[in-house]
Every structure is written in structure tokens, then in C-alpha cells.
Symmetry: C2
Subunit: 628 residues, 2 copies
């Protein structure tokens, strides 16, 4: 743990969570927030009084940090100005009933607003004066799409002009970062003149900023805006008020409120730590690839999967000393087939069918990693162990599967020597290690997984791809360890008819959809696999015609690729050859890959070929089943 520093109160706007207002408050309190922003629309659709909300919040131990938003107030024509001040008085009534002293005024978006900072400042000063008579305060925030005021600096200029102690500045990372405005200068604003800080991230998108803001914001650490830089600048000002999340997100509106709220709190803990405050977090571990993957199987699936793996050159390398668990091995790849009754694996099998129930990563320090996960509110797990067996730490991923963290033992023994009876080595087919493990996520869950892998493990997000399946688009984005020894493409699909969508439905969202094994000699490997009758996915001849035209490959290179049924990609860094197996029981499949030079991608350009062929095979099987 790093040195303990000032901890900020953590708050979330009710608009960020799904449900009725009481449900939102309950969720925020349940996961541990200190306060909530009351979003006006949530209040006015609620059939209890503001005083009822105050009581509910107090009962839950939640402060009401702010009431928001108050819109289109400043610098209006005179007749509206008077009405707006009346409107403010009515909202002050509500604030007093709610028991909050702060209201957020966002910059005017009305076409009739007057471009006059003096007017704006005078109006805000008048509102602040009226507020202060009731012991209330006003914060002024620049909307990125404000009519005349759309930068924090401009809002701050107006606040300074107004020069009223009950009027301060409110800053929001999205409004600043979405228009590429520089937050650095916020550090020079006196901290006590910043009345409130809202944080939001977002994926980078090319669209109008209002639509972007209203639908695609997400929690800091889930998107691509430099929220950390923003927060460092803000905290350098000396601001010590709440850090609050205000997220408009279509998925969050639908997701269970507690799940969203928990991710929100995690994001604030993470942001605070990165800025050098809060309780501190241990650093993420260093990684050294995959130690093993564990499959939940029953006896029949174990037999079938063992035969499948056998055709890929895996050998039965060991048997667990006390459990019904078998080890299959090739190179550095360890695959564990777990059919132990009454285990976490058997529970997983009941729920999801034959599937990967755990992934084990090699790390330098498992304890620190688990401490970090716990500080970020993720569940951890300790597997039941036999006499003399190794205890393996693990962290629960957002889909409930386990990520084991295996560190080198002082004894020098591997976990296999400790826990398994090992069998002698036999011939292999050249697979050296796990290159990547691709997961299919339920729609709307990508942000949760990104936060998990970035937050707990310090992984790095890669480029977003859109992959055309015959029945819809699949979004694919890899997240990788900084050393790239662990690579996890994450896929999801809005359509339930795509391979990804079908997988999610069929398996009730069991993550791992395919596993890629690396080889340095892919042609030799595929020769072995063919001999062993491995069920490889065929590649259409048309693919090679296009490849030839597209990349201008030599005829002999091309005919080699075609002979071995290889897909191919090339970029500035290097080359990539790969082949897929058929799908195991309509669930997961394997890939054989060889990287040459510095190629770091996953052959996304070829994904459409794979998915079309998988669809053809599946539909053929269905027709044959129907006819037989």
C-alpha cells in the first residue's frame, strides 16, 4: 500500500443509475457511496415529496451533494430574466426540503441567450445573493454545447466577474475533454472557488457532442478521455469537495443499478488513487502469460474434449492428486479438465455447460494483485485444497469466472508438481503457448470488463473492430497486459443471431469463446494436425483469390497458404498466419497462430471468413440433423 492521503467524498448522479428514485438511492448506498446528486427529472417523476427523499437518503447514510441541473438561466432578455429568478426561488424551496445547499446552473443553450458576460455575471450574482439569503450556494458549469459559454475558463471568468461568495465554479471532465479544451489551468483556480467536480469518461466517437454526451458517457477508466489529467489539474487547485459521477449512458439506464453503482465506485477509487489521494492501491502485478485454462466438464464432455485436444497434439500429462481433474499439456500450454463433483467447476458446468470456468495468469506477486482487486471491491476466492497442495489466489471477473494468479514458488516447484501426478512426455505438434483468449460478452457489459482488466491488472485497451458475421455485426476490442504476454480480445454483439450472440445465449454468458495457441512452425503444426484428423475449419478458395489480388503475394506463398488452409494478414510490423478448428459442441473453438516480425493484431480482417464458414457448417449440420 502507498502512503495514506486525503480521501474524497464519493458521489453519483441519480441519472447514472436505472430504476425509480428510491431504487437509485438504495443502490448508491448499498455499494458504499457517500452521496448522490439529485437529477431533477428523477425528482419530478417521483411520487413522494422532496422531504421524503431527504429522509430516505438520511436513512441510507447518503448526503445529497447537489441538485441539478438548473438550465437556461443567465443572460436572457429582461422579461425572461425576472421569470428565471422566480424559477430559481422555487428550486431553492426544493433544495431546502431536500437538505442540500448547492445547485448546478449549466450554461445557457437558448438561441435567445445574450452574448454578454457582464449580463451573465450580474444574473448569476443576483441568483447567488438570493441563494445566500437562504444559506444556499450556486455553482456555474460550462456545457460543451453552451450557446455562448462552453469552456471552464469562460465560466470561471464570469464567476470572477460576478464576485459573490455564494457563487462558484463547477467543472465536469466530459465538458472540458470532449471539446479538447485544456484542463491544466484549473489547477490555478482557488480550490474553495470550485464548488463541485463531476467526472465522466467516454469512448472516442466522431459525432455531435450533445448526442455523444447523452448516450455514450461512461465511468472514468472505461473510456478514452484523459480524465486522470483532468482530475490531477482539478485537485492541484486544492479542491476538497466530493468527486461525483454524472453519466448519461444507454446501457447504464437498463443495467441493474447496483452493478452499475459498484463499477462507478470502483472507478472513483481508481481515479482518486491515480491522482495520488485516497487509501492508495498496490501496483498491478507484472505478467508472464497464461499458466493454465480450466474447463468445467462432465465425464462425457471430458472424454470428447480430451479427444479433440488429442487431435491438436495435446497429451494427457497429469492427474490431480485428490480431485477429478486432468491435465493436458503442450509446450507451455496447460489445459485443465475439471469434472470434480460439488466444486466451483461443477457449479459452472451446471449453469453454462462445457466451458472455460477459470483462467490462470502467471504474475510476479499474487498477494499484491489480490489486495488491489479487493481495494477495488472485486471478489476474491480461495479454492478448496488438499493436504500439501498449493493455495492459488484468484479474483472474480465480472462474469463470475475466476482469474487465478499464479506466482513463482520459493520452493521452485510448479503448481503441477505440487498438486498433480505427472505422466511422461510424448510427441507434440509444435504449439508453444497460449497466444490469446477471446471472450464473448453479453451486450452492454463491455464497460464492466474494461474497468476490471484495466483497473485490477493495468491492462491496455486496443483498437475497436467491427466484424461482419452473416447475421449481424460483432464489436471486438482486445485488452492486453502491458508486456502483451496476456491478450484478451473481448467481443460483443447487439444481435442474438451472430456467432457471438448465439454463444452468449447458449452458454448463459460464459466468457471464453475461443483460445488461440501459438506455434513457430505453423505449416509443420498443421501437417501434424491433419495427420491426427484435427477438425480444422476449411477456408474458401475465393479467399485466396482475393488475398492474391489484395496483397500481391507470390504464387508459391499463396499456394502454401491454401495447401495448409491458412488465413493470412500483414501490417507495417509483420505477418500473421492462422487457422481455426471447428466448434466444440457449438460452444468454443481453437485457433493456431504464428506471428512473424512485430505483428500484434489478431487477423480481424479474416474474421468474416471464419464466421461465414462457421455459419455454413452449423447450417449444414442442422439440415443433416433435420433430414436424418
Amino acid at each position: 500500500m502507498t502512503e495514506q492521503h486525503f480521501s474524497f467524498a464519493k458521489s453519483i448522479a441519480t441519472v447514472s443509475l436505472s430504476g425509480t428514485l428510491p431504487e437509485k438511492l438504495e443502490a448508491a448506498a448499498a455499494v458504499g457511496f457517500d452521496g448522490v446528486e439529485i437529477f431533477e427529472n428523477d425528482l419530478l417523476t417521483y411520487d413522494g415529496s422532496p422531504a421524503d427523499i431527504r429522509r430516505i437518503a438520511e436513512g441510507l447514510g447518503l448526503a445529497i451533494t447537489i441538485f441539478q441541473p438548473f438550465r437556461d438561466f443567465e443572460a436572457m432578455p429582461e422579461n425572461i430574466r425576472v421569470r428565471n429568478l422566480d424559477r430559481a426561488e422555487r428550486k431553492f424551496d426544493i433544495m431546502q426540503a431536500l437538505g442540500t445547499d448547492l445547485v448546478l446552473v449549466c450554461s445557457n443553450v437558448q438561441p435567445s441567450a445574450i452574448d454578454d458576460d457582464i449580463r451573465a455575471a450580474a444574473d448569476l450574482a443576483e441568483m447567488a445573493e438570493r441563494a445566500s439569503r437562504r444559506g444556499l450556494r450556486v455553482g456555474y458549469e460550462a456545457l460543451a454545447w453552451g450557446r455562448h459559454v462552453n469552456t471552464w475558463k469562460h465560466a470561471w471568468d464570469i464567476v470572477q466577474k460576478a464576485d459573490h461568495p455564494a457563487l462558484g465554479l463547477i467543472v465536469d471532465s466530459f465538458h472540458t475533454l470532449s471539446i479538447n479544451d485544456d484542463p491544466a489551468g484549473i489547477a490555478d483556480v482557488p480550490g474553495d472557488r470550485i464548488f463541485f467536480v463531476q467526472l465522466a469518461d467516454a469512448p472516442l466517437m466522431k459525432m455531435d457532442v450533445l448526442s455523444w454526451s447523452r448516450h455514450f458517457r461512461n465511468f472514468p477508466g472505461q473510456g478514452e478521455l484523459p480524465v486522470d489529467d483532468f482530475l490531477r489539474a482539478v485537485l492541484a487547485s486544492g479542491y476538497r469537495g466530493p468527486l461525483s459521477l454524472e453519466i448519461f449512458n444507454d446501457d447504464f439506464r437498463t443495467a441493474p443499478a447496483r452493478q452499475t453503482a459498484r463499477d462507478g465506485l470502483r472507478s472513483l477509487i481508481l481515479s482518486e488513487a491515480k491522482a495520488g489521494y485516497g487509501k492508495g492501491l498496490p501496483e498491478p502485478p507484472a505478467f508472464d502469460g497464461f499458466e493454465f485454462l480450466e474447463f468445467a466438464v462432465d465425464e462425457q464432455a471430458k472424454e470428447d474434449l480430451a479427444a479433440f485436444l488429442g487431435s491438436l497434439g495435446f497429451r494427457h500429462a497429469g492427474r490431480h492428486r485428490s480431485k477429478s481433474v486432468e491435465l493436458y499439456r503442450q509446450g507451455r500450454v496447460n489445459l485443465v479438465l475439471n469434472s470434480e463433483p460439488d466444486s466451483a467447476a461443477s457449479e459452472h458446468f451446471q449453469m453454462h455447460g462445457p466451458s472455460v470456468c477459470a483462467m490462470a495468469l502467471r504474475v510476479d506477486d499474487a498477494d499484491k494483485a489480490v489486495d488491489r482487486a479487493e481495494a477495488l471491491l472485486y471478489g476474491t476466492w480461495r479454492e478448496r485444497i488438499g493436504e500439501g497442495e498449493r493455495r492459488i489466489q484468484s479474483v472474480r471477473a465480472p462474469d463470475g469466472t475466476l482469474v487465478y494468479l499464479v506466482q513463482p514458488d520459493q520452493s521452485g516447484h510448479s503448481i503441477w508438481e505440487d498438486d498433480f501426478t505427472l505422466f511422461p512426455e510424448t510427441e507434440e505438434s509444435g504449439l508453444t503457448c497460449i497466444d490469446h483468449v477471446a471472450q464473448a460478452l453479453p451486450f452492454g457489459r463491455m464497460d464492466s470488463f474494461i474497468l476490471f482488466y484495466r483497473g485490477v491488472f493495468g491492462f491496455v485497451l486496443e483498437q475497436l473492430w467491427e466484424l461482419p458475421d452473416p447475421y449481424g455485426l460483432i464489436q471486438s476490442r482486445a485488452i492486453v497486459s502491458p508486456d502483451r504476454s496476456v491478450r484478451l480480445p473481448l467481443n460483443f454483439s447487439e444481435s442474438r443471431k451472430t456467432a457471438t450472440g448465439r454463444f452468449v445465449s447458449a452458454t448463459a454468458g460464459a466468457g471464453v469463446h475461443h483460445i488461440a495457441f501459438a506455434t513457430d512452425t505453423i505449416e509443420k503444426t498443421l501437417t501434424s494436425l491433419t495427420k491426427a484428423d484435427a477438425p480444422m475449419l476449411p477456408v474458401p478458395a475465393n479467399y485466396y483469390d482475393d488475398l492474391a489480388a489484395r496483397l500481391g503475394l507470390d504464387d508459391d506463398v499463396l499456394s502454401d497458404l491454401q495447401r495448409f488452409g491458412l488465413l493470412f494478414d500483414r501490417d507495417d510490423q509483420g505477418e500473421f498466419s492462422h487457422a481455426y478448428t471447428e466448434t466444440f459442441e457449438e460452444r468454443f473453438f481453437f485457433e493456431i497462430v504464428q506471428r512473424r516480425g512485430g505483428y500484434q493484431q489478431f487477423g480481424a480482417v479474416n474474421a468474416a471468413v471464419r464466421m461465414a464458414m462457421q455459419t455454413r457448417l452449423r447450417e449444414q449440420t442442422q439440415i443433416e440433423d433435420f433430414l436424418s
Copy 2:
């Protein structure tokens, strides 16, 4: 029917349809397309040869109108230029195997492309020369996001510079209209120099044009681009080749291919007719509001719904002479409760539960309207009728429900006098007519419904609203008859947890979600309803606090609204007061509305209040059910 003119061959690009390549071809042929564009990605993921595709297409009676796209060809640095010509030769091989003579070259998007029209023209001339040696042709199209060439005029300049008979221009409505380029000048291009015409529409969106194009295109008549103007200009050139649809749309990728293809063909028939070509279409009818709504019920639901309607002041006004069908009436509102066994209504009830199974609109000429629907490939239906009963024409909407078209009878009799035994009148509560009928559509079906109502009835699309339900956003968009006597808000939700999403799941997509009745005396009406214990939806007091602040209403106006439980809206045109009932068996509900002045909206600003209250009531009921 208008005079018969030249009919264009109708074609669709395979990328517009879901499935494997043979499935796409089968769907296009089944609905009656003349040809298909083979989208290259569909070919290269297909595990048969181009000659196989040629045979399949021939067997289905489909021409292969074009092979597309050939990308990033012209004006490249010299080394790539040579490779690109080789690439073209390989694609020519494929075209000959496919049996198509035309390839689409789209303007170069590569950063390394040279901004030199002379080079571009020379390269295209060289490609055309090589093509012509094989009896093939090349069409050049400007992409809206082309590196140097992004307008049809610029592409046409280059084609003229190249001056080769095997090189022509290709125009695409999306690429021209998405960047607000003027298509008028296309009329002056010699028609035989335009080699191909692609049509696509799109909703107006503020985002980068590439993303817009790749995800949100739709069929002409489904979007908001002036495709008709574009087509008129193109056809004025004398072009007589195919009209072809090239649609990239996320929903279409997932929807059943035949359903999409049929909408595509409808859109081409409609576009052609609007441009003054093809077999012609009768004009849409003139409308005069709703004649009746028909509910599919069983005996129990009939009794419950009759009681519900009774509390709203409807009286039992008649009984069908030969069927188990009851008429409830008030003002001009006729509601028919159909529990006749073995009828279309009873089928509807089996599938969807108690729900609206048909809507009847008053029109000036039902026969012409049905002719128009049939010309646009929509199903029509004639209800079984008894001796001396009126035959009512109807058209089948995309959800399978019937839209009856009732026209004034020469006898002067209403349909009720002919078919029903009518009962004497009793006191009513002031409802005068049906103001609007709101439908909930399954996700991804909006475009089909828009095409239906616009195409068959000539309805007009209104503003898109996003309505926040406690569990997700709802998109809402009204489509109305030109005289506004028929107004149909169409709603859909990506989330299954919203009121709209739940309705679609619970009813298997039975359209009508709520019915609004108009009154000219809403306070009197609500007084009657309260006396009759009508189950009205309560409105939170907070709503009125906000309304007062927002609109600056007089205290007595406000207290009247609150006393009668009315929601309120105001715009430049007029005012709107409305109230909702509770939901009937978790399915549909009613609304009472009064419009004042020229207010033409639907009170969308108040929808969040309604949905929050409906959610509260539903969850309370669930808790009570759970506790009891």
C-alpha cells in the same frame, strides 16, 4: 392507375441482406428482384466458386448486375499502380466467372493517393482498356469520404478526361446527399455514360459520414434524404439501367433476409413511381380519422375491458348481428370487442392476449388504397361476412395486424347500421374522437413501419423523441396523415426492461400500446371519470412544482391542473392537457387529451412522468402480490 411507363430493372446489393451468400440470393429472387450486386466480401467468404454463384443466380432468374467494390485504385504512386492493375485483372477473372460485365471502382481513400485528376483519369482509362479487351466495363463512383474525389461532378470530370467507352460514371444517392451535394446536374450527364445507379436513404444524423454510411443507411422512403429529387435528376439524364439498393444497416444485417428484401423492392417500386416511371401507383386515399379500433378478447377479458371502458363513459352501443362482437361507443369513438371463436381476432388473442387486432380508418376511396397496397406488395384481407353485411377492405400492416379502410357508403348507412343491432344512447363523458393511437414496435422494425405508412397511405413523419423510462430510453416518432386526422406515434426500445420493451415481450409484438381520446372539456370529462371510479394514473406533486417553475403558470391554473391530475405542455402553437389511465392487464392503457390552439405534439416532455408512475404502480403490485 397512372399511365404505364418504362420499368427499371430492380437490383439489390448482397450486403443489404443477412445470411450466407446463397441465402441472400434466394431471398432477393423470392421477393421478385431482377438482379443483385455481388458485394465482394460476400463472395470471398463463400465456399463455392464464382461459377457456382453464377449458376445459383441463373437458376433463380437473377442477373448479377455488378461486382463491387474495387477500392483504392486510381492515382497511386507508380509501384502500387502496377500492382493495382494486376489486382484488376484478377478481379476481371472473377467477373467473367460470375457472368457480370461491370465493376464498381470507388474513389480512392488512401492517404498516399495523389491529388491529380490527370493521373486518376489515365489509370481509369488503362483499367477500362484492359476491361474492354475482355468485354467488361468499369464504373467510377465518388465516395463521400474519398481522399481527393468525393462528388459525382468530380468523378464525372475524371471519367470525361479518361474518355474511354468502357469507363462510365456510377452515382449513389447516399454519397451525394449525405454531404449536401446538389444532384441536379446529373440530369445533364448523357444517360448512357451513367453505368449504374445505387439508391440509399438514411435518417438525418450528426456524425461522421463514414460511420453514418456503414451503420444507418436504409431504403428510400425509410429515411430523410431527398432521394426522390436525386432519382428524378438521374432519370432525366436518360439512364435506363438498373436501380439498385446498396444498404449498410446494422438492423438489416440481423433481420430475416426476405423481410428486408421485400421492403427493399417496395421502396424501389415506390421511388420509381414517384419519379414517374414503372407501372404507376394509385394516389393514397384522403383520411378522415379512425372509424373504429377492434380488440381481440376472450369472454373474461371482454367483461373486464367493458367495465374499464364503462368507467371512461363508453356505453354498450350495439351487438353484431351474426358474430360475438360488441360495440362500445362515445362521440365518434367506436371500440369493437371481438370474442368470436375461429376468427382472425381469436387467432390474434391466442397469440398476443387481449390487444388491438385491427384499426379502421375512414378514407375517401378504399379500393384505390387497397390497389396501391397490393402494388407495393402488402397483403390485403377480406373479413368473413354475413348476409347483407358490408364488406370492409383491409391491408395487413408489417406486424400482421389489419388496417381496415372504411369509405362512405352510397346508401348513406354507416357500417354499424348495416352489421349491428344498435342500442339507445346514454350519457357520455365528453370524449369526441380518437386523437392518436400509439404503437410499440419490436426493436429494429421501425423502418418497415415507416415505409408502410408512408408508402401505402402517404403519411408524414414527425420529430424523433427520446423518452427516459426508468429502465432505459424509448425512441418515439409519430407518423400522421397529411390532414392529421390519423396520428400514430411509433415507439421502440433497445431495452427489454422499459414499458415499451416489456409490452413487446409480453404481447409478442402486438402493436397498440395506448389509445388517446380527445375531449374539448377535459376538466368536465375528468370529473365524470372520477365519479365513475375510472382508474386514472396519479401525477406526482413534484411535477407541478417543476411545471410552475418552468412555465410560470398562474397559481389558479396550476391548482386546477393538479386538482384534475392533468399533465400539461405548451409550445408556440398552443397548449395540451392530458391524463392517463392505469394499464389494462399490463398491456395497454388510455389517455384523455385536450388540444388548444394549434398544438400538434403529444406531450413528449411528460412521458417520463407517466412511465415513472407506471413503473411505481407495477412494482407496488408485484410487491403486494408477493406479500399476499
